[in-house]
């Protein structure tokens, strides 16, 4: 069974008739990487919102691991929590993801939610801080970090949940060369470890290195 299946999916914003996404079908297997390309306003972010259960198709079906993701299905708290645990989303704007007072608490937020023991939370958080090279920022307020640092913290916060699918909306936007290189390497390693990736990017090198499938919107 494919992990993600979109069957003839169309989407229009509430109250509008014009379709932003028209009859889109795609299948994504476990461990694959889908690169999504398209101009501004082509519907990339809308597609990501659908894949993350934040918006729902007006036509067609979205199946995740064989289960149809609908508003009703995600309306059940337990389903919603499990789905969001399995699908991690790095928003294009990391600012909106960082609402805790310290970087450490930001990264630890997910593991704490999962009800892990204090030792496990500490271990996961430290691992993520080290992995993303932000251990020295642990006590700083996320709001006052630079754009690149915020992106690292946001990604660390997503990865601390250990999702099976990681959706990244323009992960390279606003990053310097060094951070891009780091992030590209990290995503390659992540793919190697069997995670499923969905990435919106205009970076040809990243596409070449990671993509099993390319979707042009």
């Amino acid at each position: 069974m494919s992990l993600i299946e979109l069957k003839d999916v169309s989407y229009a914003y509430p109250g509008e008739t014009k379709l932003v996404i028209k009859h889109l079908s795609l299948t994504l297997e476990r461990g694959w990487c889908l690169v999504v390309r398209g101009d501004n306003g082509s519907g990339k972010t809308t597609l990501f919102r659908i894949l993350n259960g934040l918006a729902f198709p007006v036509e067609g079906r979205y199946l995740f691991d064989g289960t149809e993701i609908t508003e009703k299905y995600l309306g059940v708290s337990r389903n919603s929590k499990l789905f969001h645990k399995r699908v991690g989303y790095l928003f294009q704007n990391p600012d909106i993801m960082l609402f805790n007072g310290r970087v450490f608490d930001e990264v630890a937020f997910g593991p704490r939610q999962m009800g892990l023991s204090d030792a496990e939370v500490e271990m996961r958080t430290k691992d993520c801080l080290d992995l993303f090279g932000i251990a020295d920022l642990a006590d700083k307020a996320p709001y006052h970090l630079s754009g690149g640092q915020k992106k690292r913290v946001a990604l660390a916060a997503v990865m601390a949940l250990n999702p099976e699918v990681i959706v990244l909306d323009e992960p390279f936007a606003g990053l310097d060369g060094k951070t891009r290189e780091f992030l590209g390497g990290f995503l390659a390693e992540l793919k190697e470890s069997g995670k499923t990736l969905i990435v919106a990017t205009h970076d040809d090198r990243l596409q070449e290195a990671l993509a099993d499938q390319v979707l042009e919107l």
Binding site: K81, H84, Y89, L98, G115, N162, G194
Partner: protein, 237 residues
């Protein structure tokens, strides 16, 4: 190097219940932001100009305030409710909820006077009734007139430019900050995969973040204005 636990799948069973607070808040904010952002309401293509409507509104409120006759108030009530009957139920709900809230607040404010001077109860109740009717009228005007037409009408009435500008900017930033809060809560839900025992701490974090963002936005706007020649001396529109 990716840590070992990240290479394996978690066997996680989330707890049931909870999580409705953020969803409800997002819906409420989304609705309010949507209404403000696309505030076209019921303005029809051939509607009365906003200036005329504004005059009628001010005149109607003045006449109502000055009237002491209960029949006038009954007539106002009948006309307004009849007019509202032609509207979609959701809009009627919004208007009446706002008007009833304002009337309720007025009632609380005049309660001491009603107890201290029982013979003035009737007058105080009239006041509450007038507040209700006035708020209904203002809400109808607001629903049937686009925001830019309202500010246009105010401009034609020679209301000082700085006042209109402040009004416009306030509305714009209410929408922007509303959108920001909605997005933060959406991101919060995405990571709130269990039971949050420190919900109020998270809410405080969102509020603090919004305050910081608001401060930053106002600073950025001021700097952008200065870069375009603003010298703290506002020239009218």
């Amino acid at each position: 190097m990716i840590p070992e636990w990240m290479k394996n799948e978690d066997t996680y069973v989330p707890p049931g219940g909870g999580g409705t607070f953020a969803v409800r808040t997002i819906r409420a904010i989304g609705g309010a932001v949507g209404r403000l952002q696309f505030q076209q309401g019921h303005e029809k293509k051939y509607a009365l100009p906003a200036l005329v409507k504004l005059f009628i509104l001010v005149a109607a409120i003045l006449a109502l305030s000055l009237s002491h006759h209960r029949l006038v108030m009954l007539a106002y009530t009948a006309v307004l409710l009849l007019y509202l009957c032609t509207w979609p139920p959701r809009d009627i709900g919004h208007i009446l909820a706002g008007a009833l809230a304002a009337a309720g607040l007025t009632l609380i404010l005049v309660l001491p006077a009603m107890f201290l001077k029982p013979e003035g109860v009737s007058g105080n109740l009239n006041l509450v009734w007038k507040v209700f009717l006035s708020v209904v009228m203002v809400s109808i005007f607001n629903h049937t007139t686009q925001w830019n037409h309202i500010t246009g009408a105010l401009r034609r009435l020679h209301v000082p430019g700085i006042f209109i500008f402040t009004l416009d900017i306030t509305l714009k930033y209410v929408v922007l900050l509303g959108r920001f809060i909605r997005d933060v809560l959406t991101a919060y839900i995405h990571r709130a995969v269990g039971r949050n025992d420190k919900k109020y701490q998270s809410v405080g974090g969102v509020m603090g973040l919004t305050f910081l963002r608001g401060t930053e936005m106002s600073r950025e706007m001021y700097e952008a204005m200065r870069c375009r020649g603003f010298t703290d001396d506002y020239k009218g529109l």
